[in-house]
């Protein structure tokens, strides 16, 4: 049954795509999307695949500005009501029309218990269809960043979902695989032709795409292969078996640049890498200092900050694919400023002097926990810092682990000193504060704040900025909050990762700082 349906879809797709001038873009990255169900897995590669099939209401353009997609305009009409005017004459790839009912259905689906995106819409109480092209979202309080949050929410077809019994996102406890895991029905620029998870995924142009007049030249077909081994990925690109590789290893970038017919694009990623320090515990769990916590002393933190030679890390460890950071978020996030992004200078003499004043003139021992398969050169960064901090007498026992062990260890608050990276999908500072700085109450707030850092003044600012709808006032709150948190040094910022996309000269496309390629913008020669 499913096979025959697939066969029909394939034949339709084949007959519609013009075979003569078909342009195929073959691309690869390290890991495949986990599922095509757009609400089941909140994960980068999964969203990168699904955004070609499904559209959000509001979208980010290559400069990360919000632009209309399925919604043409949006505005708050009351403190707790946002109204969205939908794009007319949009069809799903099976030709059925897109209406407000599909939006209400999708929002409701996102809010269901098995969804992995419900945190994005935690403020939404209800979605209402006013007429076929108008939708209202009712929130439990004023929410100025709802449009930003909606850029991560994809819209599904209500009729298709009901027909295939996928009105709820796939759930882990169900024994059955749902239809939406390997099949999809969206309004996006592409539709699924073949989906073999971890092996090969073929997307073809959606003949009913609403944007086909605006985006004329994008490829007719996308062939995606996940290639785990970095050397194989580069080899396949150099030998012309691929047109685009998302994640060439940093040490191979020079090789790609030298190869005629290939080019690279670079951008600072919206992901800051930093160290977290346990500043809250009365005694560090993994240190030789007993009865007190050296990290609780602000001067120790400042000394450590000054002792980190960020330029050495940038040039030697990161091969210049990093941009040093002064706060734990990146350029492009609302609230980031040049002043905040500037670091205090590397100053080993000053650091030594500070340490001498603190009561730890001969330093102390502490364990540093570090992932070894999550961020660019993560373990190497930690190794470099071990040597730098040894200069001010802090002896580090480095424990590098796989991310599947590192993150649970952090979440058990079982670390005194750790490396972490944090991306910001909403592109707003509130996201950073509410996860990293707010007091960890074990429930909603500060759920990734494992430092024990807690400042009631900052907490109050974060609560206020979540509800403040006046943009200017809100930006003021954000600036105040950054001032407090930056001075606390509860985290020691390192850098923003720089991403490098490698591709054939035949491909012309913009890079996204979110590290998520969007082939609607690609042109092929």
């Amino acid at each position: 049954m499913r096979f025959s349906r697939l066969l029909i879809a394939t034949t339709v797709a084949l007959s519609l795509a013009s075979p003569l001038s078909a342009k195929t873009l073959r691309w690869a990255s390290v890991g495949d999307a986990l599922t095509l169900d757009p609400h089941a897995q909140n994960e980068g590669p999964t969203a990168a695949m699904n955004q070609h099939i499904y559209d959000p209401l509001i979208q980010r353009d290559p400069s990360l500005k919000k632009i209309p997609n399925l919604a043409l305009s949006w505005k708050p009409i009351a403190p707790t009501v946002w109204e969205f005017k939908l794009r007319p004459n949009v069809k799903f790839s099976d030709g059925t029309p897109f209406t407000a009912d599909d939006v209400v259905f999708s929002i409701t689906r996102v809010l269901s218990p098995t969804s992995d995106f419900k945190t994005y819409l935690a403020s939404v109480k209800e979605a209402k269809a006013i007429d076929p092209l108008t939708v209202q979202l009712i929130t439990d309080g004023p929410n100025p960043i709802l449009p930003d949050q909606l850029t991560n929410i994809f819209i599904m077809s209500k009729a298709w979902s009901e027909k295939n019994n996928v009105t709820k996102p796939q759930s882990y406890k169900d024994k059955e695989e749902t239809f939406a895991v390997r099949n999809a029905m969206g309004t996006g620029p592409f539709m699924v032709k073949q989906r073999d998870p971890d092996i090969k995924t073929v997307l073809v142009k959606n003949p009913n795409y609403w944007g086909k007049d605006e985006f004329k030249d994008y490829p007719d077909e996308l062939v995606y292969t996940p290639i785990k081994e970095p050397a194989t990925r580069v080899a396949a690109l150099i030998s012309g078996q691929l047109d685009f590789v998302l994640d060439v290893q940093l040490q191979d970038v020079a090789r790609v640049k030298q190869t005629p017919g290939l080019k690279t694009l670079e951008s600072a990623q919206i992901r800051a890498i930093f160290f977290g320090l346990d500043v809250g515990s009365p005694e560090l769990k993994y240190s030789d200092v007993k009865g007190k916590n050296p990290f609780a002393d602000k001067r120790v933190r400042e000394a450590m900050y000054k002792a980190i030679d960020i330029n050495a890390i940038k040039t030697k460890v990161m091969r210049n694919f990093a941009s040093p950071a002064g706060i734990i978020t990146s350029q492009g996030v609302n609230g980031w400023t040049k002043e905040l992004g500037a670091r205090p200078p590397y100053d080993i003499a000053g650091a030594k002097k500070l340490m001498a004043d603190t009561g730890y003139p001969s330093g102390f021992k502490v364990t540093l926990d570090c992932p070894n398969d999550r961020y660019n050169n993560d373990e190497a960064i930690c190794q470099a810092v071990v040597g730098m901090l040894a200069q001010i007498g802090i002896q580090i026992d480095l424990q590098a682990r796989s991310k599947t062990l590192h993150f649970p260890k952090l979440q058990k608050k079982d670390s005194s000193f750790y490396l972490l990276g944090w991306g910001v999908p909403t592109l707003d500072s509130h996201y950073v504060f509410s996860f990293m700085y707010q007091t960890n109450d074990g429930k909603k707030n500060g759920s990734w704040n494992f430092t024990g850092y807690s400042d009631p003044k900052l907490d109050a600012l974060v609560e206020k900025m979540a509800q403040e709808t006046d943009i200017e006032k809100r930006d003021g709150l954000i600036a105040d909050a950054w001032k407090i948190s930056r001075e606390s040094n509860a985290y020691l910022p390192l850098h923003d990762q720089v991403i490098v996309w490698s591709m054939s000269d035949k491909v012309d496309m913009p890079i996204f700082a979110t590290d998520s390629p969007y082939f609607r913008y690609a042109k092929m020669k």
Binding site: T232, Q241, D373, P408, K444
Partner: protein, 342 residues
Amino acid sequence: MLSFLVSRLLQAAAVMIAVSFLCFVLFNFVGDPINNMVGQEATPAERAELRHQLGLDDPVPIQFVRFLGNAAVGNFGKSYRMARPVEQLIIERLPATLELVFCGALLALLLGIPLGVLTALRRDTWDTRAVMTFSLAGVAMPTFVSGILLIYIFSVECTGWVAWLGLPTGLCLPSFGRGETVKIGWWSSGLFTGAGLKALILPSATLALFQMTLVLRLVRSEMLEVLRTDYIKFARARGLTNRAVHFRHALKNTLLPVITVIGLQIGGLIAFSIITETVFQWPGMGQLFIQSVQFADIPVMAAYLVMISFFFVTINLIVDLTYAVIDPRLRVDRARAVGNAH
């Protein structure tokens, strides 16, 4: 014979249970799958809820009994990573691995045996020395190095050379994947298309390299041994041709231990194709396993390890049994031993 068979089967069953228990206990140390399954935004309560849904908060013995009960009926649960039934994932991946192993083993035998014979017969010539030096490299070089080396020569550098010679780039070999496959029932095969066969060359050569040198060296040393025995001298004294002496008498007696070793190596080939599959992005079971380890996808890891140990135990059992059948001396010994007991 029957008691021998029964005791072997019991041993095999004991090994299987021990292995499944061991891998089950090990999985408690590979990390927490929950983090990979939910986004960074999930609250602690949501994480606890999911852990409870999956039964990961039950005591280990209860989890193990549940696992054994399900495994006995071929139900290994659902992959945490792909949200699909594990047995279905494995069945999809099995053909790729088996075809790769088959071609690798075939290549190893077809090259290893003749080369072994040749180097045994033509001792102290330059070509033998060349082959033996090469075989040393084959034994010593790790699979990931030889795989990358083959990709570098036959996919990357090759494009430059064929362009220089004015030949089509199609002569170079693909560096990843299975090429084109056709479906025969549920079995997806790359053996029937040009692209599929082409894609098989580099991975199976990589997989075969170590096995081939092993066979080569084994055949050579056995052959040298056999050539020194008395019956070969008598055969020569009878005036038989060199061909008859070498191939009818010497090679035949050489092959017995070779077959045993190969039998055991096939299990190893299936298990160790992991590296070759990773290097060539070969969509087989080994790759599935590696990805599951990184994700802490316990159901897939458990099913894979249980299945591989099942292969090993079965192949061992068959080798044990056939050994008794093939080698007449073993049969005689046992009959005599039984006779004495009475």
